[in-house]
Symmetry: C2
């Protein structure tokens, strides 16, 4: 039966038809000139989007592998580090540190709230001197709660401290402003299936010059995730182990589409669609989970109305309306619904999501008028900052983003 | 320009059109029931092909990641192990051990020769008692030389010793006989882009009950490659981190095609095509690198004629004849040509390879008659063990394997 899905999870994101088609090209030799050219072009494109002249290294692994690589390549057994945690991916950083014998001190922030620069400053003040922590680990976009930590402001504090700055921007990069070099991020990671709109299987780690100095002293075991090996291979147009060739090809095609749109327009689209999503949800009287001041442009989490069970709502959306959203993670399991709006997402995708949500909530006997959320989302979108369009018009006629021609 | 390639490297192998098409299906939720069903079916199919009732765990990583997982999940810092090395992948096992602080003793065998069971017995005799080595690490098919180690016979020796038996069958499984349970292999690994004919990105590790006992005592750091986490997630129909969804879908489709052919027929096809390849090469007076008694059914390595440089020959095959073969690895760099004949390979692919090789050698002023190798390969194929065919005939009319309808 033909039942196209509206895949509205925060990754894997919808993969455009052109990218899917690219991923189905015949296999090529991963040690030949064709792959070398692809890897070089892809690396340059990623440097552009990540705003770094530093090393951009790719791994055949998902984002968690890149998080592990960040730790294993820069730290040593017994090193003290600070891990700021406001969700499941902060927990993951902490768990990886523990697995490797890194002495991580966790600083927990209320779920749904951002890590504030003042908190980072206060905690760093306790870590001065040679016995102090060596590194700060934090999420840019905490996918599990829909909170965007203010990394720009936090980076100023961390830079002053001289600590190594490791930022998980797996679901942030390409969706939210990120200036790796300008902000002084030493190690940053992202993954193909997030804002990049390619299938999962390739993750990306950036390394600053300072990060390589930490690499020299690092004694944690690393082989598959050894970034110096990845760098040496990259310089020869290759990877240390067999790369996920079809995902690399797909990622390159996705980056080509993104370059056509331009980073600025992409970030504005994410911001506008995120706001439209929040306004639509608010029109349904559900409770947004994240602090509005730090709401993510990539994913919005909400608590369903009181008498609606989150898991049931997710199931009805899926089974009856072919709309796939995510639930809560870790401590928030069963409490949240999370809707992804990152990657190649269009206004139409968001309106489709609301059409499903409105009907589903009515199935739960909630007082919802058809069109109520859609109208609010459209209103918010119409009021959002102007976007350049092909036709020069703005408002209703946005040929690039309204349609869903994939 | 339309220039289809004859991809004759020992992985990534040619991906059939049906598998490519499957890999281009729209993205799905990796946490939903559709992926759970896929993962369960794929795991069962792999258990069938790998001949094990033990745990079969998948990782989003290439084969080297699976090799690392095998070590990190069963061994501890300072553990003594024996690593038998007859090629670049034996070197890789050794390097991973070293990276993790495992006390590996290397036993080197002349490149091109197999590791003989007697050698294993002699070396194990030195490792008795509680100070002896805990594990034996070895390749099944050493991709870099085209040697198939006699794992069945070696397994008898290792079983007697009670050591943990870790076998890299990355390029062997699905191409050469492998009986994981019957032979008592504790940890075995393979990868999607080898005989399985899917794109790279998914690797596979099997764990025996005994291997899990070693897991309990293992103190090496593991997070992304933690196989207990993979097992726990699998039991819930999922993976600990985001899986390479499109590669999983492709692998499932490839396994479906393989199940139609049947394991026995697949192994016979590999054996017959490998023999045809060797006979064709011998007809060209090139030197086969591997000992004939242990020649691999998956890949054949040869030294080009004296006045032909291996790298140049590989380049001419690629640039002038669209035929992609591999060179030597490690110490054999620049000395060998390696032709892959694993996965969804047909007789036609082998004859196409020879047509290119014959012409290329003539370009190097070698005394080659057009058709000389092709005739020898065809003769060897015609003499090979009968195969069941759809039509009931045998010989020239083998509808399943002669054509290259991908």
């Amino acid at each position: 039966m033909y039942r196209p899905q509206n895949l509205r999870i925060p990754g894997p994101t919808v993969v455009p038809q052109a990218v899917l088609a690219a991923s189905a090209r015949p296999m090529i030799n991963h040690r030949g000139p064709e792959f070398a050219a692809l890897l070089a072009a892809l690396t340059r494109a990623l440097q552009d989007f990540l705003r770094t002249q530093g090393d951009v290294l790719t791994l055949t692994a998902s984002g968690s592998g890149a998080m592990e690589a960040a730790i294993a390549n820069t730290l040593s057994r017994g090193d003290k580090v600070l891990v700021f945690i406001n969700g499941a991916f902060g927990e993951r950083f902490y768990a990886i540190c523990k697995a490797y014998g890194v002495d991580a001190r966790r600083i927990d922030v209320t779920l749904g709230r951002a890590v504030e620069p003042e908190l980072v400053r206060d905690e760093l003040a306790k870590e001065k001197g040679k016995d102090g922590a060596k590194a700060v680990l934090i999420q840019h976009n905490e996918t599990s709660t829909g909170v965007l930590n203010p990394i720009k402001e936090i980076s100023e504090v961390v830079r002053e401290s001289g600590k190594l700055f490791i930022v998980d921007s797996i679901s942030g990069a390409g969706a939210a402003e990120l200036e790796i070099d300008e902000w002084g991020i030493d190690v940053c990671m992202t993954a193909s299936q997030k804002a990049w709109g390619a299938p999962p299987g390739v993750s990306i780690v950036t390394m600053s010059e300072r990060a390589w100095k930490f690499y020299e002293k690092s004694d944690l075991p690393k082989s598959y995730f050894d970034l110096a090996a990845a760098k040496a291979a990259l310089e020869k147009g290759s990877t240390p182990a067999t790369p996920a060739v079809s995902v690399y090809i797909a990622l390159q095609e996705a980056l080509r589409l993104m370059a056509e749109e331009g980073l600025e327009a992409i970030l504005r689209r994410h911001s506008n669609l995120a706001r439209a999503t929040r306004r639509g949800l608010q029109a349904l009287n559900v409770t947004l989970f994240a602090d509005e001041a730090h709401a993510s442009p990539a994913v919005t989490a909400f608590r369903p109305p009181t008498r609606v069970d989150a898991r049931n709502l997710i199931r009805v959306l899926r089974d009856d309306y072919d709309t796939i959203v995510a639930g809560g993670q870790g401590k928030l399991d069963g409490q949240l619904v999370r809707v992804g709006h990152l990657g190649f997402v269009t206004l139409q995708d968001i309106l489709n999501f609301f059409s499903a949500l409105e009907l589903a909530l009515r199935d739960f006997n909630q007082p919802v008028e058809p069109g109520q959320a859609i109208a609010a989302a459209l209103r918010a979108y119409a009021e959002s900052a102007p976007q350049p369009t092909r036709s020069g018009a703005r408002g209703g006629a946005r040929p690039d983003t309204v349609g869903s021609r994939r």
